[in-house]
Subunit: 351 residues, 2 copies
């Protein structure tokens, strides 16, 4: 079955402040290897699309940035459909709108593969193998999640508990929230739990059928929004008023945790949700993630410095992440990077 | 006896990098109360000079900055003599040159009071009282050091062990280096030890006589330098070649630890050697030493942030000092601020 990748890149990424800002969000940040997340995600999508169309759902403010990034990646051979959100409303509206549009424009005989643009996957071959399994399940009417075999008792991710084998994957027993360390260790030891990656595979028809049953209001709203939207070319900006009325909820809560035809494939590849500075620093080879030329360490260890031309000196400190941008400076303990979003909250409160 | 203050402000203050830099050294840094060290020192000098002349020994590169600072302080009523060093060579050459110049130009019937420009003294009345005691001793031919009654077992200062009472002070038993904590606690408990403040009081004649006996080469070199120097007005730049030949050594080592007529007065006033960021942060009232407006703290405590307009956010950290300047950023553990000078060393090595 033909695969149509759906790139999701509308989020602001507040945990990666100050580099990820509203005007310059996470997908456009360069990773330690120099490539941006959107470039990496596009490459992943192109490998699946096999020359066919690629859908990108993003905020309308990021259309130009995204378009330019794709041009730079010389991705001209694919047809690109941009579905532009007037505002960020979490993943359920974005994915439901994409499914509704695809069903009308491309038909139901395709597999949509949802690719958040803040994931890193180095092992393309095993990702492709997991996708082959997922499309087999999707073709059988399943709503398929990508689980990742856990390499450590990570407490920053949600988990999926697998049930009985089903075709090339497993039925899903349950979705579980981010666990504490002890619980996570039990999950890893049991062998029945997979990281919930936030990637999905399904046909538009299966998704819309499930939405019709368990998220009736959301689907009706999405259909109304699509009807009110001008869809005559491949750059489509959703009707502002009706899109703004869709419930801002994750697709996990709205659909996957409640549908009965949900299954999971066990991905056997390195996967990194670039959700925090800790995750980015893990990708960096050396202590000084930025220019070593611009960093001086005295009696300091296990630090990650991301600087932008200015000299940064560290004396007698350890386990720190330092992100220095022209507008703002972040100094964060390595184990507290999830709290960076609280800085953005505090700044919002002040204004 | 007439007091002639001698302000010493030629040092670079590498432990206060990055604010104190070669081009903008420590005396010109604003303290948390907004006033610069040189302004504070000038005020202290004027209170002693009683309208008379004030000598300032500084690097020739800092002449304009110093002159401007004095103009701003409306210190026009004093005669200002600037003795300008072509290069920094520690305190013995600076003080010996000042004594030699004063002996010739002002005569020996004055008390020179040596005031380093990186000290803070809030209690002017008790400082004045100590100076009255010091001048009594100086008039009797003594080389007088200002000791400070220790308020805590500080390990960052040297100590002076007092011997028998002598006039309004004490003879000096010995000078001791920076002690470890246990030793410092013993010093404080004994009551015989005073902090060595680095302030001195003597007549030019007494100093030169001692130098002639125990630092013969230094004095001969200083006299040769003064002879080679154009001294016709009050801004005097020492002859470069002969000044450069003077031994770069502290006046403590060269004179005070070796002369036999050294005494100490017991100063009973708050005294702070602004030698490190720890010392400066101690002066700040709140956690955020800079603009609180520009600082965001999340799950952080006991931090001192000195920022210059840019937003600084701290997440999950404690006991840090952050100094953010347009050129460079310092992040330092509060207990390691003495090592900041190692950053400057490393930077020198790179260039």
């Amino acid at each position: 079955m033909k695969i149509v990748p759906v790139i999701l890149s509308g989020g602001a990424g507040t945990r990666l402040w100050p580099e990820s800002r509203k005007s310059f969000p996470k997908p456009f940040m360069a990773m330690p290897d120099g490539e941006t997340l959107i470039e990496k995600t596009l490459a992943r999508a192109r490998a699946l699309a096999d020359g066919g169309p690629i859908i990108t759902v993003t905020n309308q403010h990021y259309h130009q940035l995204t378009h330019d990034a794709y041009e730079n990646a010389e991705a001209h051979s694919n047809r690109h459909i941009f579905l532009l959100e007037p505002e960020a409303r979490n993943t359920a509206p974005a994915i439901t709108m994409a499914a509704a549009w695809a069903s009308e424009a491309l038909g139901d005989d395709v597999c949509l593969v949802i690719l958040p643009s803040d994931h890193l996957i180095a092992d393309v071959a095993n990702f492709r193998a997991a996708t082959d399994k997922a499309t087999e399940l999707a073709a059988a009417g399943q709503l398929v999640t990508y689980g990742i075999k856990p390499s450590r008792p990570e407490t920053g991710y949600g988990y999926i508990k697998a049930a009985a084998p089903l075709l090339s994957g497993f039925a899903v027993d349950s979705f579980v929230e981010k666990p504490d360390l002890k619980t996570a260790e039990g999950y890893v030891a049991s062998g029945n739990y997979l990281w919930n990656s936030g990637m999905f595979c399904f046909t538009p028809g299966s998704f819309l059928k499930a939405a019709d049953e368990i998220a009736t209001e959301l689907l009706a709203g999405a259909r109304a929004c699509l009807a009110a939207t001008e869809c005559s070319d491949d750059t489509i900006t959703f009707d502002r008023d009706s899109f703004g009325e869709l419930q801002a909820i994750s697709v996990d809560y709205a659909i996957f945790e409640r549908a009965t035809n949900v299954s999971v494939v066990a991905g056997d590849f390195d996967w990194n949700d670039v959700g925090s500075w800790q995750a980015i620093s893990d990708l960096a080879a050396s202590d000084a993630g930025g220019s070593v030329q611009d960093t001086v360490l005295v009696d300091s260890e296990n630090v990650y410095v991301r600087n932008s031309g200015r000299l940064v000196a560290l004396v007698g400190v350890s386990n720190l992440i330092v992100v220095d941008t022209p507008e703002a400076l972040l100094i964060c303990d390595r184990s507290k990077t999830q709290q960076v979003k609280d800085v953005v909250e505090k700044l919002k409160e002040r204004q």
